[in-house]
């Protein structure tokens, strides 16, 4: 911040960075210049005219350039000819701004009067009423009475669906274009625009389906009136009835900070329910944005199908039982030969749950057979050493820096990372994307390396070895140029995922990329702030699972165990062949996910879940767990930020938090009294896991002033949802920050690729699954099973757009529709909306005639 500019606003001197607009500078000294169209996250446009102020510039002698002074020695000022917009004008040295003069106050009054001439003033039935910038600024600056005859008001449509999720009230719209600008400038989804002109100006959608953007909900947050409302919250509650509860999004590894607005509701028999989810400001994580999945997919927490009581199998049927009976029974059944028992967990559980899970197995049952049910992405151990350094913020990346994204479609796997990577690229960071197919990030990439399916490791290997040696500048292929760009970068952040890769390939990939970060060519990357590796984990708390030691080879804190247990793949094999007698599954559905066909030769299966999943129906005991909305806990993001969430709704039935259930079973196998609260379990975590040392629920709840200030006391940036009063979380430091890290030995991996047309699973945001299926509001956007393939492949296979074909997914035949899309690479079929499978497989597409279509 060397380029500081000093100006005076209403007699108060303030120094701000060059390029700052007057309105933002005023905000720094608590002077709220009212605005409607302006938003600090958007480019200024100066169209609402609410922020008009008087701007004086020091007068200089034309010949000498010297500042002219008045008789009293004060600088001469030229206030121009009229009022100017504080949101568009950049500060300059010696500028004097007046925001409280008669003309300024009069201008504010008149703009408010103008805005209200066309506004319906239906505040009593408006969703925004109570947290509405127009309402607030009218109270602050309006005259209270209009001179416009009521009959002269324009009447317009009040229920215009822009899409399935967002409705427009044309009467309430004040044409500030915040929504349009957000969609265009911030998220590059320009699917809504102005149409027509003058008083007929209206917002229309250009996409089919309407408002086709995974960011659409954010427009309702930044809308300064009640013109845009969500299908979820619309007419649902008045803002002042709502209680804000801080939470963390449970969907992806970004860990967006959210606020759940809750209310007791007659329709829910007096229960407190979640009425809406909005972003909570965390400038290091999600700033003030969340994707629509995070906003709308929450109804599973309150769903009627939630398990409410422990179930036990009697005479072949699952019947309700008491907790005491269920826990005793489970504890008895698990205390067998430690080699014959195993535990598989889901990566959406909290750190406390996962810690209790591994403790039950390692300390209680003396078994190392624990793993995540879905082994999709390896490298947690690599990230623990060279992961993104603590104190990093993707917002700080720009010119001179580089970002590498390998084998991941960030837009659909971790939307806010996609957004922040895109913005870093727009600020000048060199973006290199390597994948087997084109993704939406390619548009912002300096280099898009599209390798052949199965060639990910070879490509990255080339990239790494290029970066290691001085390259011949005459060679101009993309990999070399990309390697050079990465090599030159001041800061380097690497994201990697598992698209088209088998688990052991992702392990090798992580290590290769770790080595890339360890190469020091002028710039040290590993261990330095704004540098490091970020795994694009498949779930919100896969990072926490690694940290907590839910891994057959690692105890908590990445301590290698003496003798590694069975991993999930081995567990599924053992289930089938009888090498395992008892299996405990917490928060996962391997049967539904196609990873485990049935309960095999198991003697005993216990499932701890929210719903009676495909796995749970096969169990001997089903234990009802609480969702994240009913309790507190912590999740750890892919950037290794440990974040706290808070209980928002009352407990469903007799369900208990996972950590408590596990600890109560632990008590029965000799682990002592269970902790009373999640916070106490977290104390154990902080004691045992070295990386979490010093953290507790108080430190995780600490906040500090964040800029831009969009959630404070002002009257115009939004409701109460942005403000973060509940914690910014803590990022734990990687090994490389403290000590030297040795290069990783990269294992040789055979791809096992067979010749022929390949097919690869690709992620989609609204993939079908327990959570998405329980949210009716998102139903129209739910991903359908689709196989996208190139026109030449389609021609060869004689399939056309819209045809149904059958593909084998994890040994099960699945029906999918064909989408002929030349963005798919030749020779590779991209399958989405079906259960995940690792790596690539030979695509055996069988066309099905209409008569053979399964009715579903």
């Amino acid at each position: 911040m060397s380029d500081l500019i000093t100006l005076t606003i209403d007699g108060v001197e303030v120094s701000v960075a060059k390029g700052t607009r007057i309105a933002d500078a005023a905000k720094r000294i608590g002077n709220d210049i009212p605005v409607f169209c302006h938003h600090p996250k958007l480019e200024p446009v100066g169209m609402c005219r609410m922020c008009l102020v008087e701007v004086g510039l020091p007068v200089r002698d034309r010949a000498t350039g010297a500042l002219l002074t008045n008789a009293d020695g004060s600088p001469q000022l030229n206030f121009g000819r009229g009022l100017q917009t504080a949101c568009t004008i950049q500060v300059s040295e010696g500028m004097v701004v007046r925001t409280a003069t008669e003309p300024v106050l009069e201008a504010r009054k008149s703009v408010i009067e103008f805005l209200l001439t066309s506004h319906p003033l239906d505040c009593p039935i408006c969703d925004k009423g109570g947290e509405c910038p127009l309402q607030n600024l009218t109270m602050a600056h309006g005259v209270g009475q209009s001179r416009m005859h009521f009959g002269d008001k324009l009447k317009l449509d009040k229920h215009v669906p822009l899409g399935d999720l967002i409705y427009l009230d044309r009467e309430r719209c004040i044409q500030c274009a915040r929504c349009i600008r957000f969609q265009e400038e911030v998220v590059d989804d320009p699917v809504i625009r102005f149409h027509n002109r003058g008083r007929s100006l209206e917002i229309v959608t250009l996409s089919d389906p309407g408002f086709d953007s995974v960011w659409s909900g954010n427009t309702t947050d930044i809308c300064p009136v009640g013109a845009l409302t969500t299908a979820d919250f619309r007419f649902g509650a008045r803002p002042w009835e709502l209680t804000p509860v801080a939470s963390i999004c449970p969907h992806c590894p970004v860990g967006c900070n959210t606020t759940m607005s809750t209310r007791r509701e007659a329709m829910a028999n007096g229960r407190t329910v979640i009425k809406r989810i909005m972003p909570r400001q965390n400038e290091a994580v999600n700033e003030i944005w969340i994707c629509d999945k995070g906003r709308f997919v929450h109804h599973f927490a309150d769903h009627a199908n939630r398990l409410t009581q422990p179930l036990i199998r009697q005479n072949g049927k699952l019947v309700e039982t008491s907790w005491g009976e269920a826990l005793d029974f489970v504890a008895g059944k698990l205390q067998i030969d430690a080699h014959m028992v195993a535990g598989l967990a889901g990566a959406r559980l909290s750190n406390e749950d996962l810690f209790a899970f591994q403790r039950l197995f390692r300390d209680g049952l003396k078994s190392q057979n624990i793993d995540l049910a879905k082994r999709r992405l390896a490298g947690g151990d690599v990230a623990a050493q060279v992961g993104l350094s603590s104190g990093s913020n993707l917002k700080d990346l720009g010119k001179g820096d580089a970002i590498l994204v390998v084998a991941s479609d960030l837009h659909d796997e971790a939307p806010v990372w996609w957004l922040r990577v895109k913005q870093a690229a727009e600020r000048g960071a060199t973006l290199v994307v390597a994948n087997a197919r084109a993704t939406r990030l390619d548009a912002f990439a300096a280099f898009s390396l599209h390798y052949e399916a199965g060639q990910a490791l070879a490509t990255v290997n080339q990239l790494v070895s290029m970066a290691k040696v001085e390259t011949d500048t005459a060679v101009t292929n993309d990999i070399v140029s990309a390697a050079e760009a990465l090599f030159k970068a001041e800061n380097l952040v690497i994201f990697y995922g598992s698209e088209g890769l088998a688990y052991d390939e992702t392990d090798a990939l992580a290590k290769l990329l770790g080595n890339l970060l360890l190469i020091e060519n002028g710039h040290k990357h590993a261990g330095r702030v704004n540098n490091g590796l970020v795994p694009v984990w498949p779930h919100n708390n896969t990072q926490g699972a690694w940290d907590m030691g839910v891994h057959p080879a690692y105890a908590p804190g990445y301590k290698p165990v003496k003798e590694a247990g069975l991993d999930a793949t081995a567990v599924y094999a053992a289930v089938a062949n009888g090498d395992l007698k008892a299996l405990y599954i917490a928060g996962a559905d391997p049967v539904g996910d196609g990873l485990m066909p049935d309960r095999g030769k198991l003697d005993f299966l216990v499932v701890q879940e929210l719903f009676l999943t495909d796995t749970a129906v096969l169990a001997d005991v089903v234990l009802p767990a609480q969702s994240w909305a009913e309790r507190e806990g912590t999740f750890t993001t892919g950037e290794r930020r440990v974040q706290r969430y808070y209980p928002a709704i009352p407990v469903v039935g007799q369900s208990r938090p996972d950590w408590q259930i596990l600890a109560q079973i632990g008590e029965r196998v000799g682990l002592g009294k269970p902790a009373f609260a999640a916070s106490l379990t977290f104390k154990d975590v902080a004691r045992i896991v070295p990386q979490y040392k010093g953290m507790d629920y108080r430190t995780l709840a600490q906040v500090e002033k964040q800029w831009p200030d969009v959630g404070g006391e002002d009257l115009y940036y939004g409701g109460n949802a942005y403000e973060n009063r509940s914690g910014l979380g803590q990022q734990w430091p990687v090994t490389a920050e403290k000590s030297a890290v040795a290069h990783f030995d990269v294992p040789t991996v055979k791809t096992g690729r067979k010749d022929g047309l390949q097919m690869m699973w690709t992620a989609v945001l609204y993939a079908p699954g327990t959570l998405v299926d329980c949210s009716d509001v998102i139903a129209p956007r739910k991903a359908q099973p689709v196989a996208a393939l190139h026109g030449t492949d389609a021609a060869r296979l004689a399939v056309a757009d819209g045809d149904w074909v059958e593909v084998m997914v994890n040994g099960t035949a699945v029906q999918v529709t064909v989408r002929v899309d030349d963005r798919a690479p030749v020779g590779l079929v991209l399958v989405a909306g079906v259960p995940w499978w690792p790596g690539t497989a030979v695509a055996d597409l069988k066309k099905i005639v209409a008569a053979a279509l399964a009715v579903n």
Binding site: M50, S110, T117, S146, F150, R197
Partner: protein, 427 residues
């Protein structure tokens, strides 16, 4: 003096390139490219005192000199949006003397280092556009456009673009947005087009008539041009005479003639009626009355009378004109053409039209006239572009000059008071 811009009136078939060349056409371009540096061209245009003929009157040479030197794309955009009420000069130039405009534009492109010229026509100007396009084809064939013009290393292409018919697209930034395929809305300056214009590159936007002057200046010199017109407003201007005159049409005059002389030129008042008022700049300038008729047609001439020359589209009104009706007509136009981007113009013009319509219909009250005036003043000086200021001019100036006509309307309304009282103003 012979016409300089409307030369086609003296020379048949001037729109054809061989005729145009026979009468000195493209000699200025030849001179510029073979004898002058780009900076030399800018210097001559600057010292000629040529100012923008679209209405704003910004010195043309100064505008060109704002374009940053150095590499990278730059653009010349010709503004043939000509949407001001009562303006029809650029249409005649485009249809009948297109080569003079093209030549001027190529010279402008040469001087700023632009390789591309766009001519933005209002959507209704099909005939003018087609005539221009034919002339462009001829210019390409003759080597005045395209690669290596006149054997130099200067290359330039010329494209015509047709808007969808919006007044606001005559404002340079709205024009640029429209040209890019965006909604025709202006942006808040800075950035100025000279720095960030078309496709975010330095851009000169010049009016058609302005560019038609350029070849004359280069051939005859800056001093010759300075000798025309007045000291502060040198040169010639096409005046569009319309309304209640005997002979409406375009008249080319040296700047400095009086409005009274212009009236005489147009054959005087139609049917011998008495003069009442005129709009000197289409709908956008305040009306002037008899008192101001001896003012000169210059950029400064009407300042003492509270009005402007603008694009010199003179709409004349005789004694039969209802000034409230005239104001309503103008206001309706601006309300219809307001782009809707900024609040005061969008909401204000809508509201004002409601008020004025009520007054005109005889249902208004004296309070309505006051409100009308006050709303107008809430627009003035507070809008993003000049359209808001234009919109209030006809209303405020007719209230000022013809208050009795407004009084008559509101007093003539027998039930106006009653109606007004019945209506409740709702906050």
């Amino acid at each position: 003096m012979a016409n300089l811009l409307l030369r086609h009136r003296d020379i048949p078939d001037l729109h054809k390139i061989d005729v145009y060349r026979k009468h000195g056409g493209y000699e200025a371009l030849h001179k510029a490219i073979t004898e002058m540096t780009p900076q030399g061209v800018i210097d001559v245009v600057r010292s000629s005192g040529l100012r923008g003929r679209g209405g704003a009157g910004f010195p043309t040479g100064v505008k060109w000199s704002f374009i940053p030197k150095g590499p990278g794309e730059k653009y010349v955009v010709i503004n043939t949006d000509e949407s001001e009420t009562g303006t029809f000069k650029d249409r005649e130039l485009s249809e009948k003397n297109p080569h003079q405009v093209i030549e001027g534009a190529i010279i402008a492109a040469y001087s700023i280092g632009a390789k591309t010229i766009y001519n933005y026509f209002r959507g209704e100007f099909m005939d003018a556009g087609y005539a221009m396009e034919e002339a462009i084809r001829e210019a390409y064939a003759a080597g005045f456009l395209g690669k290596n013009i006149l054997g130099s290393d200067f290359s330039c292409d010329f494209y015509c673009h047709y808007g969808a018919g919006a007044y606001i697209c005559g404002e340079e930034t709205a024009l640029i947005n429209s040209l890019q395929g965006e909604l025709g809305q202006p942006w808040s300056k800075p950035p100025f087009p000279a720095v960030e214009g078309l496709y975010r590159r330095p851009t000169v936007v010049n009016n058609t008539e302005t560019l038609a002057n350029v070849p004359l200046i280069l051939v005859n010199g800056a001093d010759w041009y300075m000798s025309l017109g007045t000291d502060k407003s040198p040169g010639v201007k096409i005046v569009c005479m319309s309304g209640h005159v005997e002979k409406p049409g375009n008249y080319e005059v040296e700047l400095g003639v009086t409005y009274r002389e212009l009236l005489a030129m147009a054959g005087g008042m139609r049917d011998g009626k008495k003069f009442k008022a005129l709009l000197p700049s289409g709908g956008s300038g305040p009306v002037i009355t008899e008192k101001a008729l001896d003012a000169p047609l210059t950029y400064e001439g009407l300042t003492p009378h509270g009005s402007v020359m603008g694009s010199a589209s003179v709409i004349v009104m005789d004694e039969t004109t209802d000034m409230v009706w005239a104001a309503l007509k103008m206001l309706h136009f601006f309300k219809h053409e307001s782009c809707g981007k900024c609040t005061p113009c969008r909401e204000g013009t809508f509201w004002m039209e409601k008020l004025l319509h009520r007054i005109y219909e005889g249902h208004g009250t004296p309070q309505d006239v006051q409100t009308l005036e006050s709303v107008a003043n809430q627009i003035g000086g507070r809008t993003l572009c000049a359209l808001g200021d234009f919109a209030i001019n006809p209303v405020l100036s007719t209230i000022k000059h013809f208050p009795e006509e407004y009084r008559a309307k509101v007093q003539g309304s027998a039930n106006g008071q009653v109606k007004a009282a019945a209506r409740t103003a709702v906050a």
